[in-house]
């Protein structure tokens, strides 16, 4: 049943391409088909793994909100890069078997490189555009990009969890679209736009539109090639602890840092000036 839906969806996607809808990967210099984010909507990375776009309202049209499951993946472009992926996620698309090996796929810009500052050491993951838990796609090269561990785990996974658990609980459908943004001819995406809306309840259960940054704190990435290096520390860069609620920053040894609740605590490496520019004030006790 799933294969039949995929064949129909692929046929519709091909027809759409032939009619000029376009299915090449999105260039950051212009919004692509059905993509609601424009470059000016996306601020520079400022320490959070994602940023909300357009008040979290996805750019789906009414006709796209269907209660029939399907999934579509764009053909790779001339550089071998992934394009937009879209699915109407229902329980019938979700995996029934354990995830298989995906190591045979080498997405554009792929590098095997490790850093001590990265959770799990490896900088890059083969990152599913539409997560395995949603549509059960394993080694589908049209659905795998070179993504940082940070983007994969801190950025995309929480949204995939939200969609997957909602679908499993309600047996409703969620329209879900992932658009990788490649700047110029870069082989590594700058980030991905995630849009989702639950169908049967018109977005009452799930509704978001976010941009997730394909970056890794502490590592500098050359998005043209995927090469990377450790970020150089200047003399005035230090470790700080942020209270994202009170907008105060502390030295790690400050008693005020120890009492910050988990929800409001964030570790930061960088300069005092950068924090001040982001609206943070120094703690009056430890005077960082």
């Amino acid at each position: 049943m799933k294969q039949g839906r995929r064949a129909l969806a692929a046929l519709l996607l091909a027809l759409w391409c032939l009619l000029g809808g376009g299915c090449v990967s999105i260039e950051i210099s212009q919004a692509g088909p059905g993509v609601t984010a424009a470059p000016e909507d996306i601020p520079a990375f400022s320490g959070d793994p994602y940023v909300v776009l357009l008040d979290n309202e996805p750019g789906f049209t009414e006709s796209q909100l269907t209660s029939s499951s399907y999934e579509t993946y764009s053909p790779l472009d001339q550089l071998g890069r992934c394009g937009q992926a879209m699915a109407c996620v229902g329980t019938d698309l979700m995996p029934t078997e354990e995830r298989g090996a995906i190591g045979s796929v080498k997405p554009t810009g792929w590098q095997t490189v490790k850093y001590d500052c990265v959770d799990g050491k490896y900088l890059y993951n083969r990152c599913h555009l539409i997560g395995f838990q949603l549509t059960g796609e394993n080694a589908n090269k049209q659905n795998l990009i070179t993504g940082t561990r940070y983007m994969n785990v801190d950025g995309m996974l929480p949204f995939e969890n939200m969609v997957a658990d909602y679908v499993k609980e309600t047996e409703n459908h969620v329209l879900y679209r992932v658009t990788p943004f490649f700047e110029g001819e870069n082989l590594v995406a700058s980030g991905v736009q995630l849009e989702a809306k639950s169908v049967e309840d018109q977005g009452e259960g799930v509704c978001f539109n976010v941009y997730v940054y394909n970056c890794q704190p502490g590592v500098v990435i050359d998005y043209a090639t995927g090469e990377s290096r450790l970020e150089e520390r200047t003399g005035d860069e230090k470790e700080y602890v942020l209270n994202t609620s009170s907008k105060k920053f502390h030295l790690p040894s400050c008693s005020g840092a120890a009492s910050i609740g988990e929800a409001n605590r964030q570790d930061f490496s960088g300069s005092r000036e950068e924090l001040m520019n982001r609206g943070y004030d120094p703690c009056g006790a430890c005077k960082p």
Partner: protein, 134 residues
């Protein structure tokens, strides 16, 4: 008043004015825990519950209105400002990471953990219930 809150791994409650998750087994567990006591909640939370359920009381200011020994199921407000009204807390942990823009900032060090229990939900592999008293 005994607050009842569902949180993810980072204390998140809500994203884009929507609950992070829901689970019918959790709702049943909450009603069983209430054991006939009133359970207060706002209109948004009431939408999760069917008509056959227990003594549910709805008010937008439910955190102010829930009385002694009564439960208050809170989804859309950080209950921390009502700390002084609380006799206890029931914390359900999804054991998952979800996006969040509203967090529960209750200081758990102000409570005493009385019971911790894990159970499988209808769509969550493992939900943890923690019961605290002040």
């Amino acid at each position: 008043m005994i607050a009842v809150v569902c949180v993810d791994d980072r204390g998140g409650m809500l994203f884009n004015r929507r609950r992070q998750s829901q689970d019918r087994v959790l709702r049943g567990d909450l009603l069983a825990l209430a054991a006939g006591r009133p359970v207060w909640m706002n209109g948004y939370s009431l939408g999760q519950f069917g008509p056959e359920t227990g003594d549910l009381r709805t008010a937008e200011d439910c955190l102010d209105r829930a009385g002694k020994g009564e439960l208050c199921f809170v989804e859309t407000t950080d209950p921390a400002p009502w700390l002084e009204r609380m006799e206890g807390l029931v914390l359900y942990r999804w054991n998952r990471r979800y996006p969040a823009d509203l967090y529960c900032t209750l200081p758990l060090e102000d409570f005493v953990l009385e019971e911790r229990r894990e159970f499988a939900g209808s769509s969550h592999e493992c939900i943890t219930r923690e019961v605290y008293r002040r």
